[in-house]
């Protein structure tokens, strides 16, 4: 029998992973800190001027930065809230004992999350096109304003719907898997005690799968807050700044305005803004698990 190593060999074994993390995470982060203190263009990184905290000051005094942040926050709260509700509802429904064609239905449900968000944006741009889009056409035939879904009055609503369509299956997948871990005997015991379905849900199901709910919530909040691809393809962040998310704001600052220094500053401010609440949530999750 060969025993495991305790000597210096173990450090060599984790060295490739450490190098990868340094290269792809640590170095870019510190480079971002450095670049954020320069006024510099992407195409001429070695011709920048040191400006200290000026980029941070300009970003924090930019009304559009706050508008983008506010839009991202509202978008994240609404989409995540609805996805959690709908995803959990579908997971509960699938968790019923007898459901014909369950496996096929689950496979079909998961299709949207396999499509890249940018591609999904292009698909919906075509499907909702008032001239040639089939979805727009049939909605209009059914009496709904199908040809208006991309107008300014309906645009945000449409973006929310598309995001829900794509990511609800993700929530379903996680929570459905979590529901499988709950022992059936607990429900039987609760039934014997005369508990109603609602009481079982509130007192058994939700507490037992709460860590999964919280993790899913955190992941979806982060993802929907930093959404970029789908909105950029569909609206370009417009009209005006109506659908400009914080990611689109940073992207345009970096690549359209060409100010990579300010874009880095905005990214770091965003990191700070997100890390505080997310840190608190993760701490709570870990405390709950420790209990």
């Amino acid at each position: 029998m060969i025993a495991y190593s305790r000597g210096p060999a173990r450090y060599f074994q984790i060295l490739p992973l450490v190098l990868l993390i340094l290269l792809l995470t640590i170095f870019p982060t510190f480079f971002a800190y450095l670049i954020s203190t320069y006024q510099v263009r992407l195409s001429a990184l070695d011709e920048g001027t040191f400006v200290g905290l000026s980029n941070f000051a300009k970003t924090l005094s930019d009304r559009e930065f706050y508008e983008a942040l506010w839009f991202s926050l509202r978008f994240a709260v609404v989409t995540t809230g609805l996805e959690m509700l709908v995803g959990f509802g579908i997971a509960l429904w699938f968790n019923r004992k007898a459901l014909p064609g369950k496996r096929i239905m689950i496979s079909l449900m998961l299709l949207p999350i396999m499509v890249s968000p940018a591609l999904l944006g292009i698909m919906f741009r075509l499907m909702l096109n008032s001239f040639v889009g089939p979805v727009a056409y049939y909605l209009k035939q059914a009496g709904f304003p199908g040809d208006k879904l991309l107008t300014p009055n309906y645009l945000v609503f449409t973006l929310i719907l598309i995001d829900i369509a794509q990511w609800t299956p993700f929530v379903f997948l996680i929570l459905y898997s979590a529901l499988q871990t709950v022992p059936k005997e607990l429900y039987e015991a609760a039934s014997v005690d005369g508990a109603t379905s609602l009481q079982k849900l509130r007192s058994l199901t939700i507490p037992l799968i709460m860590p999964f709910i919280l993790i899913t919530l955190v992941i979806r909040v982060i993802d929907s807050f930093k959404i970029f691809d789908m909105i950029h393809v569909l609206t370009g962040g417009g009209p005006g700044t109506l659908t400009t998310t914080i990611s689109i704001y940073i992207y345009k600052m970096a690549f359209n305005a060409g100010d990579i220094g300010r874009a880095s500053a905005a990214s770091l401010i965003l990191l700070l803004v997100l890390s505080i609440p997310l840190g608190l949530i993760l701490t709570r999750i870990m405390r709950q698990e420790a209990r």
Binding site: G7, G236, K252
Partner: protein, 464 residues
């Protein structure tokens, strides 16, 4: 010597079996390593290739399809003499400039020739070598229209070989506009709608004489919201998405009304009556139903779809659309006309797309030979025949007999063509205008605010 392994009791037989396996594995690994070493030594010892490979970035689309023909021809012919073989590296159009710019930022030598454009060359300048000595007398050669060559020059120094020219037409349905000019009932209705919606009774005019009021009146006449008997759903399909390429199209409205990006002293010139009037042309057409309300998400593709599905009677669009609009498979083939952009002053925004030499290339001599070839008539002829749109008088004129858009491109470029700027801030200025103007067109702000905001933002940008 201290062992790195913790000592534990073990089964002797099992250990010996495992040791034998390890020894066999070591032998196999040693043999494999030897083979790899021999193979690489052989590769190193092999004679060096006589041909230099030049890598060129291009974006996907009709331009790259055309360029593939030029490359094939060069590689099979002059390339052999030059000792150069060219390979095209394709990047998708979405996010193209950003991806290329990251290569430039990394000072990459993986690519020898970059793609450039009049509106981007100023920003790329630091990563490019000027090519005046590579293609001397390019303007005098007569291969290219001089305006197009100048649009890739900065401070008198040439940075790119122009291979495509993009400008704007007004495409229209010839059958519908002809009927409008001859049908008395239509003309009566036209007068009624223009009086009711625009406050002035107007009569239809030949399309090449249109003012912006005629544009508005016709867009309302051809919209079902204003004229239930209209043969099309909308008069036009404006490209009003928050997108810099859409601002290039709108820029024609500004310049045709006498406006400009910069005044004669070179200062930003956006807080003007011309800017406000130009912004309101689009805003009025959308508000009155001449163009869909969803126009604020439209760009090139949507406008083409509207026109080809007979849901728009005319539109402002890039010259490259002609093939698609009037192609054999188009539902409106044979009914597509080309007219100048309306307005008191006839203008057409134009820019050149071309190729430039990477400052960090390790194959500059070879890349230079390739660029020299591209600046010759034979190369340009092949490019044009394969679907490219080079800014070459002889090509555009000779092919104009079979391609109406080519003939009109030559005329428009020479008579009406303008480029707002080739400075390093063009992209940033377009982004500012796209944001402010799309807000006007969506009804979020008025033209006066957009003009002031644009002026303030551009001033701040230039001061940086």
């Amino acid at each position: 010597m201290r062992s790195t392994f913790r000592q534990v009791p073990f089964n002797t037989l099992a250990f010996e079996k495992e040791l034998k396996t390890v020894k066999t594995t070591h032998k196999s690994l040693l043999m494999l390593l030897t083979l790899v070493l021999v193979a690489s030594l052989t590769a190193v010892a092999a004679p060096a290739r006589a041909v230099t490979e030049v890598k060129m970035i291009y974006w996907t689309g009709p331009e790259s399809l055309a360029m593939a023909n030029v490359i094939d021809s060069y590689n099979a012919g002059p390339g052999k003499t030059d000792g150069v073989q060219v390979q095209m590296v394709l990047f998708g159009r979405e996010g193209f400039w950003e991806r290329q710019e990251t290569l430039m930022a990394a000072k990459s030598s993986d690519v020898d020739v970059f793609y450039t454009a009049s509106y981007y060359v100023g920003r790329q300048q630091a990563a490019l070598d000027e090519i005046t000595s590579v293609v001397p007398k390019i303007k005098e050669s007569g291969v290219f229209i001089p305006n197009a060559v100048d649009s890739l020059a900065i401070g008198g120094k040439l940075y790119g070989v122009p291979l495509d020219v993009s400008l704007h037409f007004m495409y229209y349905r010839t059958d519908l506009i002809d009927k409008l000019l001859t049908d008395a009932a239509w003309q009566a209705k036209y007068k009624e709608i223009s009086k009711a919606k625009l406050g002035m009774e107007m009569s239809p005019k030949p399309i090449d004489q249109w003012s912006w009021d005629d544009f508005k009146a016709a867009s309302l006449f051809f919209s079902k919201a204003n004229n239930p008997d209209s043969p099309t759903e909308y008069g036009t399909a404006l490209q009003a998405k928050n997108l810099i390429y859409n601002v290039m199209i709108w820029g024609n409205v500004l310049y045709s009304l006498g406006g400009s990006w910069f005044d004669k002293d070179g200062k930003p010139n956006f807080d003007t009556k011309e800017f406000r009037d130009a912004a309101n042309v689009y805003a009025d057409v959308i508000k009155l139903g001449g163009s869909p309300a969803a126009s604020t998400t439209y760009e090139y593709g949507e406008a083409n779809q509207a026109f080809m599905s007979s849901q728009a009677a005319f539109m402002l669009q890039w010259n490259a659309a002609y093939n698609e609009l009037n192609g054999a498979s188009s539902p409106v083939t044979g009914k597509v006309g080309i007219a100048p952009i309306p307005g008191p002053k006839k203008v057409s925004y134009s820019h050149a797309l071309g190729v430039a030499l990477n400052k960090n290339s390790k194959n500059k001599d070879a890349a230079g030979k390739w660029l020299s070839y591209l600046a010759t008539q034979p190369a340009i002829d092949i490019y044009a025949k394969a679907g490219g749109l080079p800014p070459s008088s002889s090509v555009l004129t000779s092919m104009g007999k079979t391609r109406a858009d080519f003939a009109q491109t030559a005329v428009f470029l020479e008579k009406y063509g303008y480029t707002p700027s080739t400075g390093p801030d063009v992209f940033a200025i377009l982004d500012i205008l796209a944001k402010n103007l799309s807000g006007v067109w969506a009804g979020q702000k008025d033209a006066a605010s957009a003009a002031t905001d644009s002026q303030t933002s551009v001033l701040a940008l230039i001061k940086k």
